[in-house]
C-alpha cells in the first residue's frame, strides 16, 4: 500500500471532471420532473448529444460549436418525446424507454464516420492569480468552462425553483396540473419547454464525455451514465443542491476507488467497486429522511378537458 502516490489535488480535480456529465444530465432531468414529466430517455439524449457535439466540434474545429450542437441535438430528441407525451398523450415511461433505444441507435448511425478521430481540445480556463494558489488553484481554478457552467447552472436552477416566479409556476404545474391549468397557466407549453431544457442539458452532459472526459467517440460510450443521472434526481429528492452533492459523491468515490486500487490499498476490490453506488445512495437517502417527496403530478398525463 502506498497512499503517498495519490495526489489529493489531482484527485479532487478529477472529481470535478468525473461529476460533470451526470451533474448536467441530472439537472436537466430535475427540471423536467419538477414540471411533472418523467423522461426516462436521458441515456438516449446524452449519447445523441455526445455524437452531435463530437461531429460538430470535429467539423468546425471549435469545441464551443460542438457543445452548442450537443445541446441542440439533445433538445431535438427531447422534442420527439414532448410531441409523443404532451401532444399525442402517450405513456411517458414507454416513450422514455423508446427514446433511449432510439438515441442509442441513432448515435451509432451518426457516429459511423467518427470512430478513431480526435476532437479539438477544450482549453482549460487558466485563471491568473487564482490558478496559482498552491492546492486550491489546481482543484478549483484550472478547469474547462463546462465545469463552471455546471456549477453555475446548479445555482441558477436552485434559485429559480426556490425564489423566482417562473420556478413557482413550473412547480405548480408539476404538483397539480389541473389547478395550474385552472389558474390559466399553459401546462403543455411549460412542460414542453422543460422537456427541451432537459434534453439540452443531457446533450451537454454527453458531449462533455465525448469532447473532454474520454475524449473520443465510441458507440454506446455513455454506458449507463444517463440512468445514474436519473437515479440521482430521485435520491436527491428533486433538489438542485443535493443533485450536485450526489454527483460529486458519485464521481468522487468512483475516481477515489480507482486511485485506491492503483495505490494497492488492502480493501477488497469488490467493495471498492460498489462503493460509488453504495455511498451515494446511503448519504442521499439519509438526507431525504425529511419530508421531501416527488412532485405530485409526476408521470401523470395531462389532458385539458374543460
Amino acid at each position: 500500500m502506498d497512499l503517498s502516490s495519490i495526489n489529493p489535488a489531482l484527485l479532487l480535480a478529477s472529481l470535478m471532471v468525473a461529476a460533470t456529465p451526470i451533474l448536467l444530465a441530472a439537472l436537466g432531468e430535475l427540471v423536467v420532473e419538477r414540471a411533472g414529466v418523467l423522461n426516462l430517455g436521458v441515456e438516449g439524449m446524452m449519447i445523441t448529444g455526445a455524437i452531435c457535439g463530437f461531429a460538430m466540434a470535429v467539423n468546425s474545429g471549435s469545441p464551443l460549436v460542438g457543445f452548442m450542437a450537443a445541446a441542440g441535438g439533445g433538445a431535438l430528441l427531447a422534442l420527439l418525446f414532448a410531441l409523443l407525451t404532451q401532444i399525442a398523450l402517450a405513456n411517458q415511461v414507454a416513450s422514455g424507454l423508446a427514446l433511449t433505444l432510439f438515441g442509442l441507435g441513432l448515435s451509432a448511425l451518426l457516429g459511423q464516420g467518427y470512430v478513431g478521430i480526435k476532437p479539438p481540445p477544450t482549453p482549460r480556463l487558466d485563471i491568473p492569480v487564482l490558478g496559482d494558489i498552491p492546492f486550491l488553484g489546481r482543484v478549483l481554478f484550472s478547469h474547462d468552462p463546462v465545469v463552471y457552467f455546471g456549477l453555475g447552472l446548479t445555482g441558477l436552477i436552485w434559485w429559480m425553483l426556490k425564489y423566482s416566479h417562473a420556478g413557482m409556476v413550473l412547480r405548480a404545474v408539476g404538483e397539480n396540473h389541473h389547478a395550474a391549468h385552472a389558474l390559466g397557466y399553459k401546462v403543455v407549453r411549460i412542460r414542453v419547454l422543460a422537456i427541451l431544457f432537459g434534453g439540452a442539458c443531457a446533450g451537454l452532459g454527453g458531449a462533455y464525455l465525448s469532447l473532454v472526459r474520454v475524449p473520443q467517440w465510441t458507440e454506446g460510450m455513455t454506458s449507463g451514465a444517463g440512468w445514474i443521472a436519473l437515479a440521482l434526481v430521485v435520491f436527491a429528492s428533486w433538489k438542485a443542491g443535493r443533485v450536485l452533492l450526489g454527483a460529486w459523491l458519485f464521481g468522487g468515490v468512483a475516481v477515489l476507488q480507482l486511485n485506491l486500487q492503483a495505490a494497492g490499498i488492502a480493501i477488497p476490490v469488490e467493495y471498492l467497486s460498489m462503493s460509488p453506488y453504495l455511498i451515494t445512495i446511503l448519504v442521499l437517502v439519509t438526507m431525504s429522511a425529511d419530508k421531501s417527496r416527488a412532485p405530485a403530478s409526476l408521470g401523470r398525463i395531462f389532458h385539458a378537458t374543460q
Partner: protein, 357 residues
Amino acid sequence: MKINTLLTSAALALGLATVAVAQDRTKVGFIYVGPIGDGGWTYEHDKARLAVEEHFGDRVETVYQESVPEGADAERAISQMALQGADLIFTTSFGFMEPTLAVAERFPDVKFEHATGYRTAPNVSTYSARFYEGRAVQGHIAGRMTESNVIGYIASYPIPEVIRGINAAFLHARKANPEVEFRIIWAYTWFDPAKEADAATALIEQGADVILQHTDSTAPQAAAERAGGVITFGQASDMAEYAPMPRVSSIIDNWAPYYIDRTQAVMDGTWESQQIWHGITEGMVEIGEITDAVPADVRDEAQALEASMAEGDYHPFTGPIARQDGSAWLAEGEVADDATLLGMDFYVEGISGQIPN
C-alpha cells in the same frame, strides 16, 4: 373459385420456394458483449463475421446482436437467435458461458461456439486465442521502455484469461527490467469508455508511463495521448489510429479463418464439439506493427520473441516460476500445461495486491 385456386397454388409455390432457399442458406448468429463500433474486441468479431459473409456469399446469412449484457438477459438473446433459425451461433464473451450451455440444451440441433470459456457440450465448442503470447511481447516492450518503472494495467474481470495476461506481461516485463512494478485496476466492466479513461488517468497520475489494458474500448489510448509521454498497446484490435504514439504495438485477434472453417463444417455436416486454443503459430493472435516510437533494438528483441513463439521454440510460461506466495509452480525449464493455464487463479511471484474473488 378459379382465382382462389390459382392464388392458393401460387402461395403454395411461393412458400415452397422460400423453404427451399432457406434450407440452402446456412444461418450464422453472433452474440456480442459490446457495440460493433467499440474499436476493440467486438469490432474484431464483427470483422470476422463480415469475412464469413464475403467468403460464402449467398450461401450464408448472418445475424448479430450487440451490447448483450452478461447475465440473465444473454439467455433470452441467444434463445431468440436459435428460434430465428440460426444453425450456428457464436457467443463471444466469457460471461455467456452458462447461458450458452443452457440454451444449447434446449436446442440440440443448433451448434454453439463459445469464446474463451472452458465448458463444452455435444453441441457446444469452445474456442479461444492464446492472448498471453501477445502479452509476453507487450510486457517485454513495456519493461524496456518504462522510465518510471511503474506499469499500469487496466483489468476487467478476475477470470483466468485476464489473470493469465497480467502474469505473462509481468514475467516478461520483469525479465527485461527487474525494477518494474505493476499497478493493477479492476474496472469490473468490459466496456465503459469513461471508466476506462478514468482508470488510465488514475494510473498515470500515480506515475505509470506504460498502460496495458484488458478492456475493450480505445478510451485508455485517448487518455494516454492527452497525458503525453505514456505508451499503450492496442487491445484485441490494432487501434492504429493512436499510432505511433501512444499506441506502440498491439495484440490483434484474427477470428475470421476460424469462423469460416466452422461455418464450412456446419454446411458439410462435419461439425463436432471441440476445444480450440490457437496462438501466434496458427495466426489467431497477431502482433500489430511496432511503431518508430520504440527503439530499434527493443523492436528487434520483441520480434525475436514473437518469432520464437510462432515457431514453438518458446512458451511464455517456462520455469522457474513461483507463485505470488513464494511456493514453487514451475521448475527450471518446465512448461505450464494448458489445464493450469485455463484455470489460472493466482498471481506469479513479484506482483503485489490480491486477485478479487
